[in-house]
């Protein structure tokens, strides 16, 4: 069904200088930079790269650490789209005007990938006349810009950003975003206090430990203990608070988590040390307490930071809709903000534009591409009376339609709501660390109890301090560091390979994953039509037929035309006209040619044969008096899909195809790729139900998808991937976002996750071996505070060093 010659063959050795994606065969674009021609994969990339080069900012390409995102539209849209932001009423929602008459605006930027982007944007904005200040916050993907409204308009700034390859939007403060920023600062404060406290207490501790070995005057010992006490107390009460609250919260629910042994160790060691200081007896462990707190906070901070970058560059479904809409008011077509639309008004959606609201067509014939909703790769033909939905793309001709309601009533909003539902019902796999913790806490308490009992018999006066040293020595620092260190390391390794890890337990879920479910359109296939079959009806051979077709399609902007763009067109055509919803017509050597639907061809050739009995998207080709061919188009498979599915199966994963497309393309594709289980024509709800059913039967499910309709299923899956070109809604739900288009990254991620599991297990094994050696020694009364401190640091260092192996 899929002869290799018909697939788009990619030249793997050539990748785009701008976005890093392979350059399709037949594309020959480049931009001269630094004295060399840099290859480009599409006009969009070329436009961005040449703008950067012309502005003298090509240094950017040497500075960046990650490839840029491929611009979504082949050609950046005009400034017109952003004109609405010049409307003072709309602009007021995200700008302020200061006393000097300068305007301060906050913009959210999609597509920021690394620190070099901030440099590029700041340099390029600062070069614009009228802009007084431009500052990019990478963590929040936000641009704060100050400009003189006399010299510069907001729409210019938006357009300029888009030409640089970023997707600007007004920055709206949301509760989640504020919360995350506040949490980040709180974490950083705790970490800073713990770090400074650790240095102070550590300084005193070295003197105390040296004193233990060499001998120290009792009054100096008391002094050092007394000054350590307030510092350690501040660290414990301020920095270590989250461990206590989390342990207590889970304990109330009856679950034992890793925070419990951590809180026990910190709390008991601190209380005992404080008692030793006040009563002037026993031993102090202040240094171990603060060091432990600092190391753990650091590990958690780093882990969270790796995941939270770019958390808010992908927004909800609504942000994918155009902000400006052309509407008929007072017998004139004017551009207004989408949010100002009212039900019953008539809007105009031009060809190539995204439909802004659910609306009923009142004039015009066209086709809308609904693949993100339904998974159907082919556009649906629509005419007056049909409903078009927000978020779909009008591909053929301009439509006039009556607005049915605002965003909240739209089908898109309903989809967004089901995504939110999916997220709350996502099953939480028990974390390995927490299972370990509940096992560990029980054993530890038993050992401690036994030690206390034995020493009460042998030497009651030593019993308290020895029991305490068992608790301190068993300090689960290495145990608690084992997972965050490995996860951080694996996540940053994946990141440098073009996979962004976002989900909290994503790697843990992935390493145990049993089922891998693929969406079809845009995931296994490229989401573009390509020529699959040619049925000659006359005596003209295949290459000549395709050349004729290409010559006609050259004049069309329909998605079908793309399939012919790489074919050498026949020469001599003129007077080519396009009939909406029907096809193309043109003359060559005074003969009339037509290409399009069966009905359109029959107008010219009454006995044009019926559509062949295959489930392709068929286009007829005929000339005056003779039927020439049926050409079958089809969504082409990604070249690496077969290899990826093969590797997945060899790794022992159950591979399934889950698609919204109800045509027979699904089973055909599955057979071509060797997938046995296929579910076609699935609504987002059915997809969710299917995954839930698998989960109930004990499977751990990973899902790969890209469209709006995949978002709910991505939300509910144990681990989920969004591939290149995915909608923002899908990306915001996915645990892993693959930046380039390469499906091999899925396999790479699974392998990395499995390697991560191995490292975590090694870490646990080491931490337990350390405890098994140290606890008996402590129980026999051999361990001094300095030995406990050294043992704890060394075991933690070993765990971190082992985890760093994942970074390669």
């Amino acid at each position: 069904m899929y002869p290799a010659s018909d697939l788009q063959i990619l030249d793997e050795s050539r990748t785009c200088y701008h976005c890093g994606e392979p350059i399709p065969h037949g594309v020959d674009l480049s931009v001269t930079m630094g004295g060399a021609a840099r290859p480009m994969c599409c006009p969009g990339c070329r436009a961005v790269a040449s703008l950067i080069a012309e502005s003298g900012l090509e240094n950017f390409y040497r500075q960046r650490t990650v490839y840029n995102e491929r611009p979504l539209q082949p050609e950046p849209t005009a400034v017109e789209q952003y004109r609405v932001y010049d409307d003072p009423q709309l602009a007021a929602t995200f700008t302020t005007t200061d006393d000097n008459g300068l305007v301060n605006a906050s913009l959210l930027l999609g597509g920021i990938s690394c620190a070099a982007c901030t440099w590029l944007i700041e340099q390029s904005m600062a070069g614009l006349p009228g802009v007084t200040r431009a500052l990019v916050n990478l963590q929040q993907a936000r641009l704060d810009i100050q400009f003189d409204p006399e010299q510069r308009q907001l729409s210019d700034i938006f357009a300029r950003l888009e030409r640089l390859g970023y997707r600007p939007r007004p920055f709206q403060t949301s509760i989640a975003r504020q919360q995350s920023a506040a949490e980040y600062r709180t974490d950083l404060r705790r970490l800073a206090v713990a770090g400074l406290g650790m240095m102070q207490v550590g300084m005193f501790a070295i003197a105390l430990h040296a004193g233990d070995i060499q001998g120290i005057d009792a009054r100096y010992q008391a002094l050092l203990r007394w000054v350590s006490l307030p510092v350690a107390a501040f660290v414990v009460f301020y920095s270590a608070r989250p461990f206590f609250t989390s342990a207590w919260r889970h304990l109330k629910k009856g679950s034992l988590v890793m925070d419990l042994p951590v809180a026990l160790a910190i709390g008991l060691a601190f209380l005992a040390s404080a008692w030793a200081t006040i009563s002037g007896t026993g031993q102090v462990y202040f240094d171990s307490v603060v060091m432990f707190t600092f190391l753990l906070l650091l590990a958690r901070f780093l882990e969270r930071r790796v995941r939270q970058r770019q958390l808010f560059t992908w927004l909800d479904a609504e942000s994918s809709l155009p902000s400006a809409v052309v509407v008929r008011r007072d017998d004139q077509w004017i551009s207004v903000a989408r949010i100002a639309l009212r039900a019953g008004e008539t809007i105009m959606v031009k060809a190539g534009e995204t439909v802004p609201v659910d609306a009923q067509i009142c004039k015009g014939d066209s086709a809308v591409k609904e693949d993100t909703f339904s998974g159907e790769p082919l556009p649906r033909s629509v005419a007056a009376g049909d409903t078009i939905y927000a978020g779909t793309v009008n591909v053929e001709a301009a439509l006039q339609a009556r607005v049915l309601g605002d965003y909240r009533d739209s089908r898109l909003a309903a989809l967004q709501r089901s995504v939110d539902v999916a997220q709350t019902s996502k099953p939480r796999l028990a974390k390995l660390a927490d299972r370990m913790a509940s096992w560990f806490v029980g054993r530890l308490l038993l050992v401690t109890g036994a030690t206390a009992l034995v020493w009460l018999q042998l030497a009651p006066e030593k019993a308290f301090w020895i029991t305490l040293s068992v608790l301190v020595v068993s300090c689960p620092c290495a145990l608690a560091l084992a997972t965050p260190a490995a996860l951080t390391s694996a996540a940053s390794a994946l990141r440098s390979r073009g996979v962004i890890v976002r989900g909290e337990n994503a790697l843990e879920s992935l390493w145990g994953c049993t089922h891998l479910l693929f969406d079809k359109t845009g995931t296994l296939t490229q989401g573009n039509l390509a020529i699959a079959q040619v049925h000659p009806l006359g005596n003209i051979d295949r290459p000549a037929l395709l050349a004729l077709a290409a010559a006609l399609q050259h004049y069309s902007s329909h998605p079908v035309a793309k399939a012919f763009s790489s074919i050498q067109a026949a020469s001599g055509f003129d007077e080519v006209t396009y009939q909406v919803g029907a096809g193309l017509e043109g003359r060559c050597a005074r003969t009339l040619y037509r290409m399009g639907s069966a009905q359109y061809c029959r107008e010219l050739v009454p006995d044009f044969p019926a559509i062949p009995d295959d489930h392709f998207y068929w286009i007829g080709l005929c000339r005056d008096g003779a039927a020439l061919a049926w050409i079958g188009l089809d969504d082409s498979i990604r070249p690496e899909a077969g290899a990826v599915i093969n590797s997945a199966m060899r790794m022992g994963l159950q591979v399934e195809l889950l698609t919204g497309d109800s045509s027979s393309q699904g089973p055909l594709l599955a057979r071509a790729l060797g997938i046995e289980t296929v579910n076609c024509g699935q609504t987002p709800q059915q997809k969710m139900a299917h995954v839930q059913q698998l989960q109930e039967s004990g499977a751990v499910v990973a899902v790969v998808g890209d469209g709006l309709n995949d978002a709910p299923v991505l939300g509910i899956a144990d681990a989920s991937f969004a591939v290149a070109g995915a909608t923002d809604l899908a990306r915001s739900q996915a645990d892993f976002v693959i930046v380039g288009g390469d499906l091999h990254k899925i396999i790479e991620s699974v392998l990395k996750a499995r390697h991560c599991r191995l490292v975590v297990r090694q870490n646990f094994a080491w931490a337990l071996v350390y405890n098994l050696c140290a606890i008996p020694l402590a129980a026999m009364g051999f361990v001094q505070p300095w030995a406990a401190a050294i043992g704890m640091s060394l075991s933690s260092l070993l765990v971190v060093a082992n985890s760093l192996r994942l970074n390669r």
Partner: protein, 66 residues
Amino acid sequence: MDSLYLLIPIALLFCVVAIKLLLWAISSGQYDDLDKEAWRILAEDEAATSSHAGDKETASQASKKT
């Protein structure tokens, strides 16, 4: 050695001041974007010396690998 009774509290006082300053800096947003600042301190340097053509290729290759 009795000077310790004075010097250690003074050290602690410095520590308190340092913590205060750091907390103020965090609250005023100076640490909100750790990646950018960490990158920028190196980048300005390189931008100034980038006229040395020999370094260009190696620099761009190195940055792609990371």
